[in-house]
């Protein structure tokens, strides 16, 4: 069981970067007027950001990282670890984290590696970085997360195209012997591998003759094998079944009462899913469950830090008990809870 507490870790700051270009649900020509209205009301997305061809996830993470380092007045020489969590890397190889190490002019003494996770990736990334910093031998670490999911959705797929937005975030973490523990509960179930999947392009099916053929899977859903395929009902049931017990176990392990938690920051999957999870957890005070999905859509691993930066900037300057929970593609899901000191949030960056 991957229940874990990690000592001596401070989250010092977070920065988020999104593309300037917006797309609006109300302009999505494949939706009827009724569908637009229902989508905004139930899924919760009014607008989202879409990166142009020349901007990748690593570009957004780069700008977030530079701003955060400058705002916190960090010395780049102190950064001993860079982790890039993404499912939209710049190349098949080398790892994007290494390219970012050089581009950010971090020293060659920085360890850097990629992690291929999506919706659960922010909490997994926090856990990995915390585990590396906990001994105090590495003083500072930079966690970069995000995706350019719009790269993989097809315009004629109503089940994915209006759902995803692009974003990249940076989180500054440091060794601090006075910090209280961060508690994690991370889980996996590969039985759900088909629930969100891009079939072709990697090693199992590289490129086939039919890889780029657009086929109609069902009414309103056209895509190729290179596009992201999503089984909404399966994902919904997975989230309903797994997130609540994961959070309950975590709180029990951490000996933290649910009522003590100031903010529950969930992966911004879909308002209907998140509201169902909130009700199952019996969190009645809706101000404790912030949303950013209305402005950015589902931004994969960036959704939790993007929500913190855009919805909780002022509130995070105070001490809080925070519970973060990411869940989705894999299936993979992970939650963490901790007492935060002041977390600095940079102003949202738009490129």
């Amino acid at each position: 069981m991957a229940l874990l507490s990690v000592q001596n870790i401070l989250i010092e700051g977070i920065a988020a970067c999104v593309p300037q270009q917006k797309e609006y649900t109300n302009n999505y020509s494949l939706f009827t007027e009724e569908e637009k209205e229902l989508f905004v009301k139930s899924v919760g997305i009014i607008e989202r950001r879409v990166a142009p061809f020349e901007i990748t996830t690593s570009d957004m993470c780069y700008h977030a990282a530079e701003k955060l380092i400058a705002d916190l007045k960090w010395n780049k020489e102190d950064i001993g670890c860079l982790i890039f969590v993404s499912q939209s890397t710049d190349y098949l190889l080398p790892a994007t984290s290494i390219i970012l190490q050089h581009r950010l002019q971090l020293p060659n003494t920085t360890m850097a590696f990629d992690v291929g996770l999506g919706c659960s990736g922010y909490v997994y990334g926090l856990q990995l970085m915390a585990s590396l910093l906990t001994s105090g031998q590495i003083k500072k670490g930079l966690l970069l997360v995000g995706d350019k999911s719009t790269l993989s959705t097809h315009f004629e797929d109503k089940s994915t195209y209006p759902l995803f937005g692009d974003a990249g975030c940076a989180t500054a973490m440091a060794y601090d012997s006075t910090a209280t523990p961060i508690y994690f509960n991370s889980q996996s179930d590969g039985a759900g591998e088909d629930a969100i999947k891009i079939l072709d392009g990697a090693a199992r099916n590289t490129v086939r003759d039919d890889t780029f053929d657009i086929i109609e899977v069902e009414p309103g859903v056209k895509r190729s094998r290179r596009h992201l395929a999503l089984k909404g009902i399966d994902i919904f049931n997975f989230a309903l079944k797994e997130v609540t017990p994961n959070v309950h176990e975590l709180l029990k392990f951490a000996a933290i009462d649910k009522e003590q938690v100031n903010y529950f920051v969930f992966h911004q999957a879909n308002r209907l899913i998140n509201e169902s999870v909130r009700k199952k957890l019996k969190v009645l005070d809706i101000s404790k469950v912030p949303y950013s999905i209305q402005h950015f859509g589902n931004t994969s691993s960036a959704s939790i830090p993007l929500t913190m930066v855009t919805q909780l900037k002022q509130k995070l300057q105070e001490q809080n008990t925070l519970l973060l929970s990411g869940f989705g593609v894999g299936y993979s899901w992970s939650s963490c809870v901790f007492n935060s000191k002041s977390i600095y949030c940079s102003d949202l960056i738009e490129i």
């Binding site: 569908e35 989508f39 909404g232 009902i233 309903l240 509201e275 009700k279």
Partner: protein, 79 residues
């Protein structure tokens, strides 16, 4: 468990711009005005929240009417 009529009434209230009186236990829910895959999620959320039962993709695929859904919920609650 509530009655089939009460279940139908409560579920009917989940649909926007639809006169609830036009929805009966024998209504094929896919025929309800503006039915879409989004409504499938709304039905799943409704059943989960009110009856603590999860409808999976097969349950929906193999059901036609509101009564079919009710029967699945009753059967799952018994298990």
């Amino acid at each position: 468990m509530i009655s089939l009529d009460e279940f139908t009434k409560q579920l009917a209230a989940e649909f926007e711009d639809v006169d609830p009186n036009t929805i009966t236990p024998s209504t094929n829910y896919r025929d309800i005005k503006n039915w879409s895959s989004m409504y499938a999620l709304i039905v799943i959320a409704f059943v989960d929240a009110n009856f603590d039962v999860q409808l999976n993709a097969d349950n929906l695929r193999n059901s036609q009417t509101i009564k079919d859904i009710y029967d699945i919920v009753v059967a799952k609650q018994a298990n």
